[in-house]
Symmetry: C2
Subunit: 694 residues, 2 copies
């Protein structure tokens, strides 16, 4: 039955690819006639491709190095004799990086096609424009989750080894870490520099083609929000499956119920199927509300998923407890999304309060935004805690002899459930930057006020939905890494059994070695985000200087008769991002290894816990505060609290600028950082078990 289900997974993944290809062709077939839009959209595509190629070239060197280390070390050190497993591990790792890169690449290609077409479709009304944006996003959604399910099924089918899936996941994560960091630094460098020189200094509108940074800004939306986000969610999705499969395989071999691995594959495949159906049925009326359309497609997918998995549970004889944990995870995810939305929704109190505080100056915009950002962490932290506790209680009774393992399995299935509809989430998420770009292109192509109004509405829907999906994806990453903690313990015990050492039954917070790890682990996300923000800061300063230089040296640029050198700006953003991504990424990786070498597996367990707690807290805080400031600024611009040009507006712009690297660079990168660290810990458990100073 297991093979049948894995093959079913591959079939559904191929279906997703086919559907993605159809959507891609559909998007490409949409008319794009305006010459300016075609030219600029081409520049954006070129810039995005150039950065991605540059970034991937560097990352594949890194990946090659890591795969060599794996070849030499994992799972059997080469000095103990040649092992074919090592080759498989290294290949799985490489496959993980390739699949992740593929997902990002597809996203960029379709997004840079869809942006111009969505802008032009807006001439015919909101419906066609929305459909181009949404279907463009859906290509990415289908590609990301298709690649995830396909990759995990294939590795399992060929090698049948859960540890290989861990390696595949590590490949995906390590690429995602750098892609997210690099893309995040690129996009905010360009965004901040463009705003600072354009809107603030020169008083020209956003997306004015005279601004040399304007193309870089649009490229940034694609490489940061599309490619980076895709890599991030691909990574979380693979990691949740890897965690669940490692625990499930152990249970299949020992406990009285032996369909656990089958359950994981089946539910994951059905999640993808539900997303396909959800995307297919997504509709918007002629004068429809795009936010409603996006959200309702999420709810439809959730419902389809619950029904499909229930049918499968009956058909294959799975356990209802596991189904319940899975659906619980999904429901909690949706609830977290909705409650987190409260803090960034421009019809709710927090946005209004921050906008109002801006009257007293930027310091109050910042203080109130930080305060609400702090408050906004509560629902997701409590929600994650509750799903951990309840899914554990649900599943521990499946086999009394293995209650601890089933409890952990329950948690990992809650994470799988939360991520099951990720195809839909990615679709909605990728929709955002496409229509954001469309808005810019409509302005540059001078398509008129009516079109701009439509693209503005689509853009604003993208921002709202992004806030919901962000809370969702951070919590999912949180639940995944909690499950990975279980994987880590399981790997430690496997390694200990092989080495003839005593295994562990848990990690005691009263053990000072564990506590040492927790303290250091808790500091890492703060240090990591600081490095990213300082990177953006430095890089934006460089770009501002370049823009000043162009305005000084290129005759007629200010008046619109001279041609700005867009490529120099793209180049600065790209070089800076690539320069900054290595130290930040290495800090996370190296600190894990150092703590492990100092304090062994106990210190590492503590390190992971501290990292998860502070990582979740900071990621939620930064993402939500950033979204809140963004919407507070838009709320003022819509004519409230004095409107555009008022003192309150100036203060709100400061808030938005601070929020930009919060929500688009540091916040979402922490997600990936905690996953990478968890996977490294699992993969190196043998090392930490056999060697440590304390």
């Amino acid at each position: 039955m297991l093979s049948l289900i894995v093959v079913m997974g591959i079939v559904i993944a191929l279906l997703a690819f086919a559907y993605a290809a159809w959507l891609f062709t559909w998007v490409k077939a949409q008319p794009q006639e305006n010459k300016t839009i075609t030219r600029i959209s081409g520049l954006i595509q070129e810039g995005a491709r150039a950065f991605l190629n540059k970034q991937y070239a560097l990352l594949f060197k890194f990946a090659l190095l890591v795969s060599l280390i794996i070849l030499v070390m994992l799972p059997n050190p080469i000095w103990k004799g040649f092992s074919i497993s090592n080759v498989f591990m290294a290949l799985s790792y490489i496959a993980g990086t390739l699949f992740s890169a593929f997902a990002g690449k597809i996203g960029i290609e379709v997004a840079t096609l869809a942006n111009g077409r969505s802008a032009e479709a807006a001439k015919k009304g909101i419906k066609p424009s929305f459909m181009v944006g949404f279907r463009g996003g859906a290509v990415m959604g289908m590609a990301v989750v298709g690649a995830c399910v396909f990759g995990v099924c294939l590795v399992y089918l060929l090698l049948g080894d859960p540890q290989a899936i861990l390696c595949f996941s590590f490949g995906a994560s390590s690429l995602a870490l750098f892609a997210k960091v690099g893309g995040g630094i690129f996009t905010k460098t360009a965004d901040i520099a463009a705003d600072l020189t354009g809107k603030v200094e020169l008083g020209i509108p956003e997306d004015d083609p005279r601004n040399p940074a304007v193309i870089a800004d649009n490229v940034g939306d694609n490489v940061g929000d599309v490619a980076g986000m895709g890599a991030d969610l691909f990574d979380s999705n693979v990691a949740s499956l890897a965690a669940a499969i490692v625990i499930a395989a152990k249970l299949d071999a020992t406990s009285s119920f032996n369909k656990n691995v089958a359950t994981v594959f089946c539910y994951a495949a059905l999640g993808l199927l539900a997303s396909i159906l959800g995307v297919m049925t997504a509709k918007i009326g002629k004068h429809g509300n795009p936010t409603k359309a996006l959200n309702s497609s999420t709810y439809v997918t959730t419902a389809i998923y619950a029904v499909l998995t229930a049918i499968a549970t009956v058909a294959f004889g799975f356990r209802w407890e596991i189904w319940a944990a899975c659906v619980l995870g999904l429901l909690v995810g949706v609830i977290i999304g909705i409650t987190t939305d409260y803090f960034t929704d421009d019809t709710k109190k927090p946005v209004h309060m921050v906008a109002h505080a801006s009257h007293s100056g930027p310091a109050f915009t910042i203080l109130s935004g930080i305060s609400y950002g702090f408050l906004s962490t509560l629902p997701a932290m409590v929600g994650t805690g509750v799903s951990t506790m309840v899914s554990y209680k649900l599943c521990q009774g499946i086999d009394a002899a293995y209650s601890a393992d089933y409890a952990l399995f329950g948690i990992s299935m809650a994470a799988v459930g939360m991520l099951s509809i990720v195809g839909m989430i990615v679709s909605n998420d990728a929709y955002g930057p496409i229509v954001d770009n469309a808005r810019g292109l409509a302005e540059m192509g001078e398509l008129g006020d009516e079109v701009l109004e439509i693209t503005d509405e689509l853009d604003s829907a993208g921002n709202t939905v992004k806030a919901v999906t962000k809370g969702f994806s951070i919590s999912a990453a949180g639940l995944t890494v909690i499950a990975l903690l279980g994987t880590f313990m399981s790997e430690v015990n496997t390694a200990a059994a092989e080495l003839g050492l005593a295994g562990v039954t848990g990690f005691d917070v009263m053990d000072p070695i564990v506590f040492f790890g927790m303290l250091v682990g808790a500091a890492i996300p703060a240090v990591f985000s600081a490095m990213l923000m300082l990177g953006v800061d430095r890089n934006a300063q460089r770009m501002v200087e370049e823009i000043h230089r162009q305005f000084r040296e290129i005759p007629g640029l200010r008046e619109g008769s001279g041609d700005p050198d867009y490529n120099r700006c793209i180049d600065i953003a790209a070089t800076g991002a690539i320069h900054e991504l290595i130290p930040a990424g290495l800090t996370a990786i190296v600190s894990t290894i150092v703590v492990g070498v100092i304090g062994g597996v106990n210190a590492i367990a503590g390190f992971l816990v501290g990292n998860i707690l502070s990582g979740l807290l900071l990621a939620l805080f930064m993402s939500n505060a950033g979204g809140l400031w963004d919407n507070a600024k838009k709320f003022v611009e819509a004519g409230n609290e004095g409107g555009k040009g008022s003192e309150a507006h100036k203060a709100a712009v400061v808030g938005d600028t601070v929020g930009d690297p919060f929500k688009d660079t540091a916040g979402p990168s922490i997600n990936t950082q905690i996953t990478v660290v968890s996977l490294i810990a699992s993969l190196l458990s043998t090392l930490f078990l056999t060697f440590s100073i304390f």
Copy 2:
């Protein structure tokens, strides 16, 4: 021998009181002739007393309520029969609140005496002015630590019950929590409102007597930085001793070495003695450097302490391992202070970078400040982690049969060591607001530029030293609460033994109930600080309105001929602070009880861990970022990056305003919050053990 040592503790405490009385008389005997200064200093004293009385009146109602609950519930529920222990517990709790209030009260009295006298002494040069400020601060230092040692010794001598010391500590903590929160909100309300209306809107200098908020601002320095800080460090100090004594008493009764309690009392008493000697020998040359004078007195005290305790270890036959843990804690504390200082020192890179970033506008001041604030958490987190691990390794070998308990005892002694020189720390800390006030009074009393230069220098030394002591006191609180976690487990086991239930050997991070607690616990410091900052925000808005009203309605106020209504401003700050302190304080207390009732002792253990990790991280981040912004502003004002009035200066002022509630309201209050939560957990362990939903 134990009784002898406890009596020695009482004698040294009385010595500290006597020395404090002498210093108080000395300060009071210094001349104060300037009429304006006398009048304004009188107004400040009056305002501070009025607020303190109002606050204490409210808090004693709260304390009475809590003591009634203790009387009914702890340690033996009254429905199981009357127990004299309950009376003792309730009395110990009341004593804790009274001693804490006494420490705050003394501080206020001397600080409001010393401020004017220090200003006037500046006419004679830096040396006399420094001495008034320093000795004024030392009164507070001696009183706080004297009260701590006296109180703990007395309770132990009379009742001989470690749990009574826990109750005494809880009394001190619960009062400190509210005093810190109330004082913190008061001081920043007034500071922000005064700056916003005075410096920004009207362009009049700081401390200009025309500003109706100016007295409230000076009162705030006293009630927030003197009384609040005193209560805070009193609380940490008592808590560290309580944690150590609970563990030591258990070891004395069971293990092969039985001088553990004696060691705790002896080392604590010697810490006080070392502080007395350190204060006595503190000197500044005629043209000396006040920063150097303050820091070198800290180093002298550290050295004296190490020597005194070494002698005692030989004389009384204590264990060298415990001595080593204690001295290690102290050394790590000093190192943390110094490294943290790097991030706020105006001769170092972070301050320069933030000042430089201010050129690009306030958003960059904020972003770079937050980034360096995040980075600054690393040394203290790692330092705390290392002292935890090393002190554990040092002490676990004392008795192999009780190695886990000795390991915990080692950690608690590292905390005692870190806090041993707290008398010196409080002296240095209280010096700050005194000379800050003196600066204001010198300006209002028109003592001339030469005097202002001296008071400026003294003030700046106060700020630098404050940065060092703050990192120190946060880490000490961190180590204390880690030790309190040990106390919690010990209390759970005592309760379990009495109830005939199974005890616990630890709390496993793999237990999802523990993890649930950790996630919620990690969110609480964020929620708590958000409430405080929003409180300051709301309150400052109210005061700004009042100041606007006064300028509108009082004729001649702007020109200096009308009299501002200082009292209305003081009243707004006071009423607002008292209004806001209850919800924030209760959030911390109630969430602990809710988590305990949901998940029992395991959830509470997790809750404490999450709370400690995120609490330490946020407290360090907020305190350091705040100090950094403060000094970056001063650096710009000293003529760098464009100097006063430049765009960079305006941006730096925004940073400073954001930093104010960070460093003086939220950051230091988190300290107290984590201690209170830990003590509640220990005291209610029986409840959580016998009743929980999961």
